[in-house]
């Protein structure tokens, strides 16, 4: 069965995905920042896992790019090889505070984009010579167009999306799959300050099921839930002359 490393393993979506993968018989290695949470999630996964499945973990701050290669190595050692990487870490920046502070803007870009680019590169270089593997990363519909309400987050996710597009192109001939996940609004601790009502808000379980399916189908770009593809199609095609006056 597949051996999967998950970065940002304590995020709600990642935890749900880990449960689904463990239920399918996969082995999982989690990387997260909060040791207590990492341990609690690993305990849960160990209870769910069968005797032949491995559950491992490491505690790390992924803003520390230097450590990425070593983390991948320890995941590989623990699971005896890797087949899938899910990059799921991130934060939701406070847009108004970022507008006042360059330092905070760059810190958010670092967390949501540069650290992801680093991991994508390390994973690509891991899988490329082996000629197989899947790299799945959670970008966002917010990366499809810049908007005043969250363009720092949007720009970071846009960078991830574009980088993955290029990476997919590079690895297509090498048998390595690159899957870009673009969720819409998801009811998780990251969005705890929002009023979560209406059909646009999805449960992390739904997004996780979409991720597991996208990896199985070796998809390229997946909007979750599916209808966001059409919402973003419209939003991307509004002429800038009009768009710049809108409050979205």
């Amino acid at each position: 069965m597949k051996r999967i490393v998950i970065f940002g393993g304590t995020s709600a979506i990642a935890e749900c995905a880990a449960r689904l993968w463990v239920a399918r018989g996969c082995s999982v290695f989690l990387v997260g920042r909060n040791a207590e949470k990492v341990e609690a999630i690993c305990d849960d996964l160990r209870v769910r896992a069968g005797p032949s499945q491995k559950i491992g973990s490491a505690v790390a701050d992924l803003n520390d790019h230097e450590k990425h290669a070593a983390l991948v190595k320890s995941a590989e050692d623990e699971l005896g090889g890797l087949d899938v990487a899910l990059i799921a870490h991130g934060s939701l920046p406070n847009q108004t505070e970022c507008e006042k502070s360059v330092a905070q803007t760059l810190a958010e870009i670092n967390t949501n984009a540069l650290s992801v680019l680093s991991l994508l590169t390390v994973m690509a270089n891991y899988f490329e010579p082996r000629g197989n593997g899947a790299i799945v990363a959670i970008s966002s519909v917010a990366g499809d167009r810049g908007r005043k309400s969250n363009y720092v987050y949007g720009a970071a996710k846009g960078l991830v999306t574009l980088f993955m597009q290029g990476l997919r192109n590079r690895l297509a001939a090498k048998g390595v799959v690159v899957v870009t996940i673009k969720p819409g609004f998801v009811d998780t601790p990251m969005t705890k300050d929002f009023e979560k009502k209406g059909f646009l808000w999805a449960k992390p379980e739904t997004i996780a099921a979409g991720i597991v399916q996208a990896e199985e189908r070796r998809s390229d770009v997946v909007y979750l839930p599916w209808f966001w593809r059409y919402i973003m199609l419209i939003i991307r095609h509004i002429p800038e002359r009009i768009f710049k006056r809108l409050s979205l």
């Binding site: 609690a40 999630i41 305990d43 849960d44 209870v47 769910r48």
Partner: protein
């Protein structure tokens, strides 16, 4: 405190105040496959426990009639099942739990350590604090299947004698009663018995036909005509004389296969009335109650009669106690329904019985306090920052 919202009344509501949603506490912590001891967070659903443990040869020691309740909710309501005469209530199988109080302190309680907190929290309706995790004892099973039998009984007397006979022999017993039957047929129904099957079956996973009531119906389709027709058909349907093998799902959780079944009652919804009467006055009291319901023509298909055994429930406010319990849905017909409830309340009070808080949305405070005399002692353990609509309602008058 709100787990998965399967209590029928307001024990899981807190109107004009904050409600804590516990479903996020949904992780397993530890499972010992050799002893059947499971530790998990309190928001884990019983259905999730079953999905995990049944393939490994274990089952819940006690399960209520729906598996879509949380472990914390099962403890806080000290729920019971069809095997009460053998196993007692859910709380009897809780080995330990952690209580998080609003002052930030955490109390680990077991039946012997911090036992007063344990007794207050089991059946404590979520008022003593937040249950963060619990450790429960499971029972071993040889297969996911049940051997079951169904026997018709013509009246209440026959029910009593069937009960005496079958409770000796079987782990699970429960009866459906025709709440419209009057006169000589008063209390007629069908008696169900079951046992975990001893033989190993290939563990083919059960696929229930998933059905749903897609919309809330504009009016209740449960009325006197539909009820009389259904009950007559159900009572008279052919029953096999032999025992049959069926999966545990339809045996324990018949309603769980119909998603949002409550919508059949229309926008006004329904009440459930579940009482227990002690054995001493139980037979006469139950007869009076069934007569009153039969005369009123109200009630529903879902009428369940069961005897509780003598195993003591561990909670101060636990509902299960030796006696006879009747549970019944009533479509909400406003005043008419409330008038009937008042009459039934009188019988319950006169018999020294009690109503089940988990199923209640209207009992008078006086009836609660007479049915749960430990309420005053219990109040000392309530968390000062915790309350519920139910608690304010039964404590105000």
């Amino acid at each position: 405190m709100y787990g998965n919202g399967r209590s029928y009344g307001d024990v899981c509501q807190n109107s004009s105040a904050t409600l804590l949603f516990a479903r996020g506490l949904n992780r397993f912590i530890q499972f010992d496959g050799s002893t059947g001891v499971l530790r998990c967070e309190a928001g884990v659903l019983l259905s999730e426990v079953l999905d995990l443990v049944v393939p490994r040869g274990w089952f819940l020691s006690v399960t209520p009639g729906t598996k879509f309740v949380t472990v914390g909710g099962a403890i806080a309501n000290d729920v019971h099942g069809k095997n009460h005469h053998r196993a007692g209530s859910f709380g009897c199988h809780v080995r330990a739990l952690e209580l998080l109080r609003s002052d930030g302190s955490r109390i680990t309680c077991t039946p012997t350590v911090n036992s007063e907190w344990f007794a207050a929290t089991v059946g404590g309706l979520g008022l003593t604090g937040l249950i963060t995790w619990a450790e429960i004892q499971l029972i071993p099973i040889a297969s996911a299947y049940m051997t079951t039998e169904a026997h018709r009984f013509r009246n209440l007397d026959e029910f009593w004698s069937l009960g005496e006979k079958y409770e000796q022999q079987f782990s699970y017993t429960v009866a459906w009663v025709d709440c419209l039957a009057v006169g000589r047929s008063l209390g007629r129904g069908v008696y169900f018995i079951g046992e975990h099957a001893a033989e190993k079956k290939p563990s083919s996973s059960y696929r229930s036909k998933h059905r749903s009531v897609p919309i809330e119906l504009p009016i209740s389709i449960v009325n006197h005509a539909s009820l009389a027709l259904f009950n007559a058909l159900y009572y008279n349907r052919p029953l096999s004389a032999q025992s049959k093998l069926e999966h545990y799902e339809p045996f324990f959780y018949p309603l769980d296969s119909i998603d949002k079944w409550n919508r059949i009652y229309g926008p006004k919804g329904f009440y459930q009335y579940q009482c227990v009467l002690p054995f001493a006055n139980g037979k006469d009291g139950m007869e009076t109650i069934l007569k009153l319901i039969g005369q009123s023509g109200q009630g529903s298909f879902l009428a369940v009669l069961k005897t509780f055994g003598n195993i003591r429930s561990p909670g101060m406010l636990s509902f299960p106690r030796p006696g006879i319990t009747l549970a019944l849905d009533f479509p909400n017909k406003g005043e008419a329904t409330h008038r009937l409830f008042s009459k039934l309340d009188q019988v319950v009070a006169d018999s020294g019985g009690a109503l089940y808080p988990a199923k209640d949305a209207r009992m008078p405070g006086e009836l609660f306090r007479s049915g749960f005399p430990a309420w005053a002692e219990f109040e000392k353990y309530c968390d000062p920052k915790f309350s519920s609509s139910f608690w304010r309602r039964v404590m105000k008058d």
